[in-house]
Amino acid sequence: MLEIENLSRSFNGRSVLRDISLRLAPGEYVAIVGESGVGKSTLLNLIAGLDRPDGGRLRLDGEDYALHDEDALTRLRRDKLGFVFQAFHILPHLNVAQNVALPLWLQGVERDAADGPARQLLDAVGLGTRGDSWPRELSGGEMQRVAIARALVHAPRLVLADEPTGNLDPANAARVLALLAERVRAAGAIGILVTHSLEAAATADRTLYLTAEGLRG
């Protein structure tokens, strides 16, 4: 359960997010759309614990962000969150399977033990045979599928995706979005997809609109 209550954030006195509230139950997969500069990424950063709000509360599975110091938030991200970024962020010096296993490594799983789950997820995103490839041998769409596998390998409670298809062509984008929706639902996690494409948003269960006035269903 993700609970957001009256969240606000301003930069240099300029208010960006004001009075944002949202509750999401496990298995819910929502899209947030809005114009450029309206604060979508800012909201996502707050939810990820990468940034602190000026007001309001954030809770994930009852854990209050405000009570966590930086280390605790880092642990929260490591154990409960999965990320998919617009700029894939695949490490070039690790092979595909290792990239996927990375969140498990951070959790303290041994390299050998992490290999199995990683390849299983690669299988699930249709890249079962590419585990030993190097990132430079992949296309953009394949790279984002690796990122999706990586976002889910450690069974996170919440998956955050900020413009995951911003760097992809439409055909690839559709495939990646469908895969993301399918994987998040299969994992029973909460999913938040940030995009400014309504088409992309349609792959989610419901769409929320972020405007200067607030978040509307």
Binding site: S41, N45, A48, L50, D51, E70, D71, T74, R75, R77, R78, D79, L81, G82, F83, F85, Q86, A87, F88, H89, I90, L91, P92, H93, L94, Q98, L102, P103, W105, L106, Q107, G108, V109, E110, R111, G140, M143, G166
Partner: protein, 836 residues
């Protein structure tokens, strides 16, 4: 704990894999650390080998002696022996006469010890001779000499052979009667009966040393004090260890200076690691942001980045220790135990692996690696992930304004450090000042870069404008590249200025000291050779000789714990004419004394001061009339007028003669007439030009090692430029792709990179030359003065410095272009789209 360790292993591919990807930059950092560690290790290993050999030799010589009585080089009265042997606290006394016997016709001498075989066995059994004939009393056969194995090998003689050596200006023949089986080391020496030695070498009634063994239970220090009280002036009692210390001290300053240079090389290596890590951190900024976002703790990130530096440092340290031993081996074979500086002649040191020192030097490599990686790691760990994850947050190295105030404070601090007196004979204040200048210059670098960018002309071709704009907007990159250049240029320039000043001063000094047309001597001043009165008269009477100035050399013991001070007696004018004086001479009533700078520093004597000099066993009051510069005798020298010396001591012998030719006389003919005055090969004749050439050749050989270090420093600096531009170019592939999309040609981008390289190196070279000038001054005025007690006149080799600086800038531009070409080889389209 073990979980922690395993955690480290798990993440190894994430970080070490990245290190392997940046092969070129990593390699350059590695090479720099290897060189720094190797140089330090080599200097250390060579000197340790030489010192331990020297020490072993001295210990063998001293044997079981508890105390040694030493005096002036000319020796002291042998009656002292009977007096000391009769003292209740002395168990055994062994008299020794030491003679450096010059081998006839060779520029080489053999140390001959005249000993009393009866007491030898109980005090210094190591020196016991063994006669081949089995005759235990062969040592009393007057002309028999027993050679150490090393001496016999060196001279190429065996038992039964004859050895022609020089006594005064006459020739005597010694018979090799056996060897010294108990002498374990590689010293070259001979032992003979003391009475025979006294007779043969004209030292009747004289001793150089008495080795004492005290009765059981007698405290050595108490005995030393009570014995000292009965000794005449200029004769001292010392522990054998003090003797060894003096020898070690003599070369220690030289060694410490070399080690300091190696340390600066290592420091440069650390800077290179810094450049490489700083650039890689910039490049991997979004990678770190991503890792932090998915849950990598800040501390772990920091730890790993420092760990990357430590790995490079450890590897460099281990390789450096290995290379250092190789270098030391080569240096010992080529230059000898003093690296050509002339402190340990007559020794054949052996290299030994020293586990502790090796470990320390390997650790120094790690320290350099960690220090270089520290601040980039800190910067990486403080990056806000949310910010850095944003697309478009391109690699920006925030050079900032540096810390100009702190930098200025450090420069001021270096001035203060120069005023710190030497600690235990070592110029720590000078080293501190050098460190302050370097650190201050690096901290001021961003301000210098900003200033330079502002001074650059606006306009011109687009490539130039882009390059200048980059320096102005992101001085960080240039600063990182320039820091390595700065340190290496500063080191090289400082050394160049110091060596040039030194060489120039030595040259002038020689010209002042050698005004005559011809120089004649019967052997080195230290040897037992001399010119007696009859020969002096014949020299003066030789056809073609105008005027002659004779010089007498001796060595005096002025204070316990100090090495001997050279005494030179020669005709002196009241104004000290002919001496390379420092400052104005004083007009003095009565006998005057001229002291070298070392005596001024070591004994605190000042012009105008009344001092006592032990001459012929009596204290003689003299007034210091002036200070002169002496590059030949690091432990000090005093000069008095020859007539006064003769009046005070009755010693009428001299060691050498400076001869002015009569008007119109032919130099060669006169020279031939002079050498014919004694047996063939006995008298050595030299023209001042020759002496100057030989001296400067020795000088150059001594500084060969520093030239090597300079070359290494420059190589490291260049490697630094190449490495940082290689890393930068790789990080900027996207930018290059974009510029090519905008319509810039490859050539234009190459030109832009050349400008950038030249600008960055230019900043480094400029700051490096300034810092180098300051460090050069510190080396001249503080480090050399305090280590070796000699001053020199500043002489800046402008031409070579400018050529060197310009060449470095050009090479840096070339390195930048080459690095850029490597990065541009890739397809422009791919470069823009690419994600890393």
């Amino acid at each position: 704990m073990s979980g922690q360790v395993m955690g480290w292993r798990r993440l190894a591919p994430v970080f070490l894999g990245s290190l392997a990807r940046r092969r070129l930059a990593t390699l350059f950092s590695l090479v720099a650390i290897v060189l720094g560690v190797a140089l330090g290790m080599a200097v250390q290993a060579v000197h340790e080998a030489a010192l331990s050999e020297f020490d072993r030799g001295l210990r063998n010589m001293a044997g079981a002696a508890d105390l040694q009585v030493v005096g002036p080089r000319g020796g002291f009265d042998e009656q002292l022996y009977a007096r000391l042997a009769a003292r209740p606290d002395v168990a055994e006394a062994s008299p020794v006469l030491e003679v450096e016997a010059r081998l006839v016709g060779r520029d080489e001498s053999l140390q001959v010890l005249g000993v009393d075989a009866f007491v030898l066995a109980r005090v210094t059994p190591q020196l016991l001779p063994r006669a081949d004939s089995g005759d235990r009393f062969a040592i009393f056969a007057g002309d028999g000499v027993f050679l150490s194995r090393a001496a016999a090998e060196r001279l190429g003689v065996k038992t039964g052979d004859l050895l022609r050596v020089q006594a005064g200006s006459a020739e005597v023949v010694l018979k090799v009667a056996g060897d010294l089986p108990a002498l374990g080391d590689d010293r070259r020496l001979g032992v003979m009966d003391i009475a025979a030695a006294q007779t043969l070498f004209g030292k009747l009634g004289r001793l150089s040393r008495i080795d004492l063994r005290l009765r059981d239970g007698v405290d050595a220090e108490a005995a030393r004090r009570s014995l000292q009280a009965v000794l005449p002036d200029g004769v001292l009692v010392e522990t054998p260890a003090a003797e060894a210390d003096q020898a070690a001290n003599l070369s220690r300053a030289y060694r410490v200076n070399l080690t300091l240079l190696a340390a600066i090389a290592l420091l440069t290596g650390g800077f290179l690691v810094f450049s490489a890590q700083a650039l890689s951190v910039v490049r991997r900024r979004s990678e770190f942001a991503f890792l932090r976002a998915i849950g990598l703790p800040r501390r772990t990130l920091f730890g790993w980045l420092v760990g990357e530096g430590a790995v490079v440092g450890l590897l460099g340290g281990i390789l450096g220790v290995a290379v250092g031993h190789g270098l030391a081996w080569g240096a010992l074979a080529l230059l000898g135990g003093d690296l050509g500086a002339g402190y340990f002649s007559g020794l054949a040191p052996r290299l030994q692996f020293q586990p502790l020192a090796s470990a320390i030097y390997a650790l120094l490599g790690v320290v350099a690696g960690v220090a270089g990686a520290w601040s980039p790691a800190k910067e990486a760990a403080t990056v806000a992930p949310a910010q850095a994850l944003k697309a478009g947050d391109e690699a920006a190295l925030h050079g900032g304004r540096g810390h100009p105030l702190f930098g200025l404070a450090l420069l001021a601090g270096s001035l203060a450090a120069c005023a710190i007196p030497p600690v235990d004979g070592l110029p720590f204040g000078g080293y501190l000042a050098v460190a302050c200048v370097l650190a201050g210059a690096v901290l001021l670098l961003p301000s210098i870069a900003a200033l330079l960018a502002r001074l650059m002309p606006v306009g011109g071709p687009v490539a130039v404008r882009l390059a200048v704009a980059r320096l102005a907007a992101a001085p960080g990159h240039a600063v990182v590249a320039a820091a390595g250049v700065l340190t290496s240029v500063a080191l090289a320039a400082a050394m160049a200025i110091m060596v040039a000043s030194f060489r120039d001063s030595v040259d002038q000094w020689l010209t002042q000291l050698l005004p005559a047309d011809l120089y004649l001597r019967a052997g080195r001043a230290q040897s037992g050779s001399y010119l007696d009165e009859a020969l002096q008269a014949r020299i003066v009477a030789t056809a073609g000789v105008g005027s002659v100035a004779f010089t007498r050399h001796d060595g005096l013991r002025l204070a316990a714990g100090h090495a001997p001070v050279a005494l030179l007696a020669r005709p002196m004018s009241a104004a000290g004419g002919g001496l390379p004086l420092v400052g104005q001479p004083l007009a003095v009533n009565g006998p005057s004394l001229w002291i070298s700078e070392a005596v001024q520093d070591l004994y605190g004597w000042r012009p105008g001061q009344q001092v006592e000099l032990p001459l012929a066993g009596k204290p003689v009051r003299l007034t210091v009339a002036g200070v002169w510069r002496d590059y030949a005798r690091q432990t000090g020298a005093v000069m008095i007028d020859l007539d006064s010396y003769r009046r005070l001591t009755g010693d009428r012998l001299v060691n050498d003669a400076a001869i002015h030719l009569a008007p119109g006389a032919d130099a060669l003919r006169t020279a031939n007439a002079l050498t014919a005055l004694a047996g063939p090969g006995v008298l050595e004749l030299a023209f001042p030009g020759e002496i100057r050439t030989i001296t400067l050749r020795i000088f150059d050989r001594t500084f060969a090692v520093t030239y090597l270090l300079e070359a290494v420093a420059v190589a490291i600096g260049l490697a630094g430029v190449a490495a940082s531009f290689a890393a930068l170019a790789a990080a900027r592939r996207k930018e290059f792709g974009m510029l090519r999309h905008l319509g810039l040609t490859r050539r234009q981008i190459g030109w832009m990179l050349a400008q950038e390289g030249a600008l960055a190196a230019g900043v480094g070279v400029l700051a490096g030359l300034l810092a180098g000038g300051a460090i050069g001054l510190v080396l001249i005025e503080v480090v050399n003065r305090q280590s070796f007690h000699w001053s020199m006149d500043l002489h800046v080799p402008w031409l070579s410095l400018l050529t060197f600086g310009g060449g470095l800038v050009a090479l840096a531009a070339l390195a930048a272009v080459l690095a850029g070409r490597q990065a541009m080889r890739q397809d422009a389209v791919l470069a823009v789209r690419e994600d890393w």
